[in-house]
Symmetry: C2
Subunit: 190 residues, 2 copies
Amino acid sequence: MKELEERIRRDGQVLAGGILKVDSFVNHQVDAALMDKCGQELARRFAGLGATKVLTAEISGIAPALTTALHLGIPVVYARKTKPITMPDQVYLTLAPSHTKGRMVELIISPEYLAHGEKVLIIDDFLASGATILGLVRLAQAAGAQVIGIGALIEKSFEGGREALTPLGIPVESLTSIVSMDENRITFAD
Amino acid sequence: MKELEERIRRDGQVLAGGILKVDSFVNHQVDAALMDKCGQELARRFAGLGATKVLTAEISGIAPALTTALHLGIPVVYARKTKPITMPDQVYLTLAPSHTKGRMVELIISPEYLAHGEKVLIIDDFLASGATILGLVRLAQAAGAQVIGIGALIEKSFEGGREALTPLGIPVESLTSIVSMDENRITFAD
């Protein structure tokens, strides 16, 4: 998606440790109009697959997942990283490594909102190693739901996430794909 | 807002400790279409005040703040509760009590995204004691920004938040206002 790619070129910052900082339009400040366009495009790519629910992980997945859900006309569920007191005792829980936190985090979903037989579209801001997304896949599978597609705003194709997701045999779409980056240059796939 | 009120009547659950559980459409699962309508209505109520940025707190403020920002055509900034590694060392930080966590939480904003002179509209899911919103007000003031209005999806008018915000002398709008609630009955203001 050209507009997102241009924004990353202009405002993205490559930090030490292979972190791409997009805090000015995705992660801390959110460009609402751009996020809506991204959601519209992700919805277009997965239209016709019969998704009944969008699934994401708090926190930074919420914005793109919400706009995608809006354009598909379905609800979104975001996995929590700490169990709120409103959640029942019995939950679906898995562990996934957090790139930006440098430790394992919990991903928790209440069985109230993910039912057997649902068709789940997973949306996240980044597709890097794929670890968070695979955590969401495990939660969906635990609930007896079927994951029908995976979408991300920004793929870091050199971190192997797409290869990790290939065995699922479902469509994986990213709006932009970075093949290499350092402090001076971000190179996108053609 | 009638539609939100009806949804709270139908799907809201009053838990022990005065907690209103709206996890099926606001806090864990989000009804994207309803959230968009709420954002549209909040944008309508604050139109013409010249807001340059919507400000909220992660996590549950993100959805209504994003849709409000979308309809106002401005960006949204969400205060973080833990400082990510992408944030500079020097930040705006304040403490606010969390109703659902039963302890103080940090609210953190990077100076990169809240500038002197900005006109800030604060949006959150709940207006209860007003403590989180007052925390966001302090952050905006620390940045030299002007808070021009405060909006919430659900006000619990019996928890005193509106009175706590009155000294600010700015418009406070809630889409629904609950005057009393127990396990069997939720009563809204007329």
